[in-house]
């Protein structure tokens, strides 16, 4: 999916988890596309999501809001959402907002997928 400067790749793992890999900036401009993509995934039955942030260069409050929205949608459907491999800027934003308590970042995809 290509929307403005955000590209979102999807990968179904061998288990029930879908890895969502946005690339670029997750901000006010691209957050609606991300939100919509996650909602579609959950509605189509992919309720366990790992958002791989390795290729996300920058997140703002709108981008964070979209991830939180995805977390809520996934949980409401009986699943969950985890985030993995945030860069320093994303870590900083999670710290500033204390959202690292809600969205605990995993250092690797393997860790995020373990026991999910």
């Amino acid at each position: 999916l290509q929307e403005d400067h955000l590209q979102i790749d999807l990968q179904q793992t061998h288990e029930r988890v879908t890895v969502v890999s946005p690339k670029g900036r997750l901000d006010m401009s691209s957050a609606p596309a991300f939100r919509s993509q996650v909602r579609q995934l959950v509605e189509s039955g992919s309720t366990h999501l790992v958002v791989d942030l390795q290729d996300v260069s920058f997140v703002d409050s709108s981008g964070l809001g979209a991830v939180i929205g995805g977390l809520k949608v996934a949980r409401q459907a009986g699943g969950d959402l985890r985030i993995a491999r945030p860069n320093q800027q994303v870590q900083l934003v999670l710290d500033l907002t204390s959202l690292n308590q809600v969205l605990r970042p995993y250092g690797s995809l393997e860790e995020a997928l373990a026991g999910f």
Partner: protein, 144 residues
């Protein structure tokens, strides 16, 4: 960023102060990131990463807030470095802000909106807002 097709919205002056000025005219923040990158490149020394990122977070949040809430046709802003401190001044002719910035706090862990201003206030040393006539002025300061 539409404006760049005709004339770059970002300009730079160096001297005792280092100044980058920018105009954002569309619902995209590309020009803000471009201005920040130019701003850091133009300085003799590279600031500590976390300090730099905190200032960037505040600048982008305020810019996004103005675009989303004040909805002006354009936002003009200036980034300035002097004596190790950095500041940002934004002006726009959009709708007025209802009041002074509120204390930085977050009401709900799972809220999907409303974190931007609080993030900016935590990231820098000063966030000030003033409306003069029909013009909004935002000012951010991050001390060395």
């Amino acid at each position: 960023m539409e404006a760049s097709k005709k004339r770059s919205p970002v300009s730079e002056q160096s001297g005792v102060e280092h100044i980058v000025e920018c105009t954002v005219s569309a619902n995209h923040l590309d020009a803000v990131h471009e201005a920040l990158a130019l701003f850091w490149r133009g300085q003799g020394t590279s600031p500590e990463e976390r300090w730099r990122l905190l200032f960037e977070v505040a600048v982008t949040e305020i810019a996004a807030n103005i675009i989303e809430h004040a909805r002006p046709p354009v936002v003009r802003f200036r980034l300035r470095a002097v004596s190790g401190r950095v500041d940002a001044e934004f002006t726009d002719k959009g709708g007025g802000w209802d009041g002074p910035p509120e204390p930085a706090y977050f009401l709900d862990d799972l809220a999907e909106r409303g974190r931007g201003l609080a993030m900016a206030m935590k990231a820098v040393d000063e966030v000030a807002y003033e409306r003069v006539g029909k013009v909004n002025h935002w000012r951010l300061v991050k001390l060395a």
